[in-house]
């Protein structure tokens, strides 16, 4: 399918669904190495997003949907993940501003801008045991898939696969950012909740493209 507003809204709607389905799991992960509210935070945000989807004007383009997600998350999530994901969607929207149909290059630009936005706000590096450990592999995989001439759907699928692997890769790490960093060695063996929610978001994007 072509990645237009239908895909964008479907991505957002599917994200809202998987986040609420995984709300308890995300909170449980956060209870282990954080403060046990990540699922609640994300679900509060994306429930608000779901309500606003309907208000998107006629002729809205993907960047309009992402911008709505950004401002809604910033004003409803709170915590660390609110500003981080909010900035991610804001920068992503900027990277594809106005475009009504995204090609592979636009998809890679969108993902790259999102990741860069998170780094800009949170200053995390790879292997700090944060959501970046899902986003950076996703961006790299998407870039490679684009170079290999894959379809938009395959590019998003590659990003989702890499994000999931990236989330798993946080298990053995000691955290250097966020609450988990207070735990030192005790964070080892636990998966970073923000990396898991990031992988859920990217998988929803791929599923939306797969139709």
């Amino acid at each position: 399918m072509v990645l237009g507003i239908t895909w964008a809204t479907s991505w957002v709607a599917r994200t809202a669904d998987v986040i609420s389905e995984n709300r308890t799991e995300l909170t449980t992960l956060d209870r282990a190495i954080g403060d046990g509210d990540h699922g609640e935070n994300m679900d509060r945000g994306f429930s608000a997003v779901r309500l606003k989807l309907a208000d998107l004007p006629e002729g809205a383009v993907p960047s309009d949907a992402l911008k709505m997600v950004a401002t809604t998350l910033i004003s409803t999530v709170g915590g660390a993940s609110g500003p981080l994901f909010g900035t991610a969607y804001l920068k992503a929207a900027g990277a594809i501003a106005g475009t009504s149909e995204l090609d592979g290059a636009a998809v890679v630009a969108l993902l790259t801008a999102a990741r860069d936005g998170i780094v800009l706000r949170g200053k995390a590096e790879l292997a700090d045991k944060t959501m970046i450990d899902a986003w950076t592999p996703a961006v790299d995989a998407a870039t490679a898939a684009l170079a290999a001439g894959k379809t938009e759907a395959d590019i998003l699928a590659a990003a989702a696969d890499a994000a999931e692997a990236g989330a798993e890769s946080t298990d053995p790490l000691v955290a250097r950012k966020g609450r988990a960093s207070y735990l030192g060695e005790r964070a080892v063996g636990h998966r970073d909740p923000g990396a898991v929610s990031s992988a859920l978001i990217l998988r929803a994007g791929a599923d939306a493209a797969a139709g």
Partner: protein, 333 residues
Amino acid sequence: MKKLINDPKNVVAEAAAGFALAHSDIVSVSFDPIFITRSDAPVAGKVAIISGGGSGHEPLHGGFVGYGMLDAAVPGPVFTSPTPDPIFGAIQAVDGGAGVLQIVKNYTGDVLNFETAAELAEADGITVRTVITNDDVAVKDSLYTAGRRGVAGTVLVEKIAGAAAQRGDDLDSVAAIAEKVNAGARSMGVALTPCVVPHAGEPSFELADDEIEIGIGIHGEPGRERIQLEPADNIVERLLTPILEDLPFASGDRVLLFVNGMGGTPQVELFIVFRHAAEVLKQQGITVARSLVGNYVTSLEMQGASITVLKLDEELEDLWDAPVQTAALRWGR
């Protein structure tokens, strides 16, 4: 989960409503978005001080809004930083033209959301300064972590900076005094039991009947190490030693000794802790010139306590003694 609540979703709003009714002489409460201000805000020409963060630490921060302390407090959901909107709303409500100081506990979420709110306010022509508190010695401070957490010492920063603003200091001086208090304060806590976040419904961590967490945070995060329950005097020494070594505090110092309850610990236990902490300080030639004992920075119903030691000088002692009239801290008027 056993709590005196209705819908977990409404805990913060309903508590704010009760707080507004019980303390209408001191505060006014805005509900959409939720923030608490001095009933006489904005105070023209006075530097306004705001603070906030996740709920569940009461009386922090709403209990410290009033004459001589905070102009506004912004309570987020339980243990979750408020979003920029209510923070920005509070800034606009209390700015008296002399600028606004944000006192923010060092947690990524709080820092990022207050940062965004400050950007909105600056864009609106309001001068905003931010002081980050990070008095928790349980967390190693390094470039490779989010840095030390802001815990109970935050109350001392709010009281003393609040007194400076009340006497008419300008924004830079108030911020400098807040920085000075934060720089001279060190804290560490212990948990005997975890707490239960209303919307989670389960304990934030598990502790065996004979285990305690040393170096606990105030958001139900686990601490640095888990040990067997010990006599209170031993626990006091486990908390106090790293505190005294960190600054370091030295013989001849005058200090404020603050024993803070985590919420579920009976007062007798807090005074037993205070007793030995004061004993240890005396042995080291450190004078306890001021003291504070009680539940001021809590973690819901968590049982446990934290010890904070603040290095004093004449200026800080005068500002500490200055009149304050808030729901949770009051003297001199």
